[in-house]
Symmetry: C2
């Protein structure tokens, strides 16, 4: 807890991020390099994300299960692209119960292989399909450069793994879950995203096609915020997931996988905050409303607290916190809750008690402009309206920011300039060489070929050859 000023978000975004995460008590560094502790306030955001997603998963027919943390090293080797993609990042258990293991065990970096193995045991006939399973789990990838929430050795996520009788059904599933992520990101987190398909070089190791939702952070870099993969029959063949079809013939299943992680907490922080700290979208905020009582003496305190307690119980449908700490001034508390990004602050003082009103202070509009006085009558309705308004305004603001920082370069020089300032949406011939050249020259990568194309045809911004689709180039986390 501290009232010291944060670094400026516009001037030193990276340091602003680090300090906000730690000072708002979202997460802390663990004693093991690259690992994090997610503190209660941060974990509570993740719990709200989990609820919002889990509801959507169940509504689309999925069930949860739990697969083991440890995977035999040999499993990863069964899918060639997969092992190439993941082997540099593995944590390996070589000793168990005091003895050296015959076969080393990998701490799961993702679970396609072990789940594929189990599916091959469980799936025998078309009647067993589709299998629609999700798990909430921790996974480990041995990253060298780490950052709280964005890139840590261990992180938390959900990974959906489904198996289907036909390619069409598996492709439908892949798109369904991409839509679930888009809906979640935009309507719960107020984070506008571009859904699209990854290039060949950016796709998941072992997938036929990877889809992604990409979001623009406050420093104009892109963050891959959720992915959905059509795996074709790659893993079904590697793990022998076969079923008897309607004609009693053996077929390989078609599988998908899709995931969204605690990285998304980073997306929320980097999309919304300001120089005062976090701004949390009301739907996911652990505390939606903080009530700060204001008084000078015991007499005032008694009157104010009576109203505060009544208001608190009237607002029981919301996640409300009353800051009744006596050793701190109201001004200190205002700063403290602003740092923590609580969307709405309600101040109640002796004058409010007299007038039957309260003061609202919107977190998304600092200072006088965000203040209003509201009657205590019908307060639950007023709070709901204000939270809806804040939710909407955060989304609109982030969308406007993304649009203002998205360029449409026609020439290579323009592209190079654009990716220093924001995102570039440009024609691309879909050749990996052009993509590699951009990366080398600018460090920007292709983020996705958006599903929604603006139409027409053009020429590749790199090589000038004909191009059927536009792609986003951007520097990314």
């Amino acid at each position: 807890m501290s009232n010291e000023k944060l670094p400026s978000r516009s001037e030193n975004f990276s340091e602003w991020y680090n300090q906000v995460v730690q000072r708002a008590e979202l997460a802390d560094y663990a004693p093991v390099r690259g690992c994090m502790v997610v503190r209660p306030y941060g974990w509570s955001i993740w719990e709200n994300i989990q609820q919002a997603l889990d509801k959507r998963f169940k509504a689309t027919g999925h069930v949860n299960a739990a697969f083991p943390l440890f995977i035999p090293m040999s499993f990863l080797e069964k899918e060639k692209e997969h092992v190439e993609g993941f082997s540099p990042e593995l944590a390996v258990v070589t000793v168990g119960g005091g003895e050296k293991l015959e076969e080393p065990l990998v701490v799961r970096p993702t679970s396609e292989t072990i789940i594929g193995y189990m599916y091959s045991k469980w799936i025998k006939s078309y009647r067993d399909l589709p299998v629609l399973i999700n798990q909430w789990a921790n996974v480990v990838r041995w990253e060298m450069r780490t950052r709280l929430f964005l890139r840590t050795l261990e992180f938390y996520w959900q990974e959906g793994h489904t198996a289907h009788a036909t390619a069409e059904e598996a492709e439908e599933e892949t798109m369904r879950m991409l839509n679930v992520y888009t809906d979640f990101a935009e309507n719960e987190a107020a984070v506008p995203v571009v859904p699209g398909v990854k290039s060949e070089s950016e796709k998941f190791a072992g997938a036929v096609r990877s889809y992604t939702i990409e979001a623009m952070m406050g420093d104009r870099r892109a963050l891959q915020s959720g992915t959905s993969h059509f795996l074709g029959q790659n893993f079904a063949k590697a793990f022998d997931i076969q079923f008897l079809d309607w004609n009693n013939e053996l077929q390989y299943a078609w599988t998908t996988s899709w995931g969204l992680s605690t990285r998304f907490v980073g997306a929320i922080i980097m999309t919304h905050g300001d120089d005062q700290g976090l701004i949390l979208p009301p739907r996911l905020a652990p505390i939606q409303v903080v009530i700060v009582p204001i008084y000078k003496n015991d007499d005032e305190k008694a009157r104010v607290m009576e109203t505060v307690n009544r208001v608190q119980s009237e607002l029981s449908a919301f996640r409300v916190h009353v800051d009744s700490r006596t050793e701190l001034t109201p001004g200190f508390k205002f700063n403290d809750w602003e740092l923590r990004g609580v969307p709405l602050r309600i101040e109640i003082g002796p004058k409010d008690v007299e007038k039957g009103s309260v003061a609202f202070a919107r977190r998304d509009i600092p200072g006088r402009e965000g203040k209003s006085f509201v009657s205590q009558d019908g307060l639950a309705d007023s709070v709901q309206k204000m939270l809806d308004e804040i939710q909407k305004s955060l989304f609109q603001r982030a969308l406007a920011f993304r649009e203002a920082n998205t360029y449409r370069p026609d020439a290579y020089d323009e592209l190079k300039e654009a990716v220093q300032k924001g995102w570039a949406l440009a024609w691309w011939c879909e050749d990996a060489d052009c993509e590699a050249k951009v990366k080398e020259d600018t460090r920007a990568t292709t983020r996705c070929i958006p599903l929604e194309q603006e139409g027409g045809q053009g020429t590749c911004v790199v090589c000038g050859r004909p191009a059927a689709r536009k792609v986003y180039f951007a520097r990314a986390y």
Copy 2:
């Protein structure tokens, strides 16, 4: 899915257990020795357990967080008893990102050490206390003899870790959480438990005192079903968790830890089932009511399904499943849902449609006796009453079973006989030698000294010396 007969529960309890777990699709063996896959039906029981506990944790002021999976080996060595207790069971990561690690990392067997380290960073003053944190996590203990749910290399649990300014507060917390477990076990899972304190030799490695809830399984063995530990200042001293007290003097904090795991799913299976399979307590059952439509032809089917659909929507407050599989007979379905332990089956046939009734079949009372015909009017109320009745009756039956199988031996020969048949509640001098002798002679261990004592004083059933309290001796899982 199979309708084959299970082994008899009374004749071969162990094999009955193994088959029920696998055929009811609760869990399966993973390809790594001793690891399990918790399948959707089993995980759904765990999710219901999580909800019931998490609600209670939050109501008692706790918040959730997430601490890392990996713990530096040196941390475990800081608390002498702790490292001795856990070192034979560790899984150790020695390679990360392709390189040998300087310090091996232990996959957490429990998190007192790493959480102690973090608490020492966070706690500075009495104002920071108490810290009341829980985490839902996977942990790993390298067990040699494993069994699905009861003992697996990796298992799932919650572990609460709290820090307090005084010993009294920490002891209160320890008891509060033991009470939460007791309340949960008895009122949600219908599993009667004995809350009590562990003997010195059975306590948690590093604790001052360990409390437990012990439950009697269907084979009369005991299962430790949840534990709550008063850790004194042991971990605070090992990890330097110090705070400035009201007099501005440095003090070590007092800590507790408490946990309940997926083992409890095993407790539910072994407390309630019968020769037909599982019997799940209504409050935790993934499916509380299964509706089986009965018809002979398309005309009947149309009429029956109309009623089935209406009934289903009227029962939307319950977890209802309609078994509309067309390739299976009603008899097959009855067996299938009995195996899976669904507490209440509702059968609807053409006659029921005519009469405006449905047939109830209680899972806890097989055959005709458990059947009744109930009006479709006010069905939701009738279902609620029946589920409450089943919940209560499961608890009463298990309690009666435990009482019928609990003996009160006065002599050592009686004790030796008693622990072959059930539990023995007997006077004990609390000397470890007597406890060790019983274990050697009978394989029975002390389960707990129950908090509720029957009063009086006696002489130790082993050595004849004076004894102030009775203890439960039993063979245990």
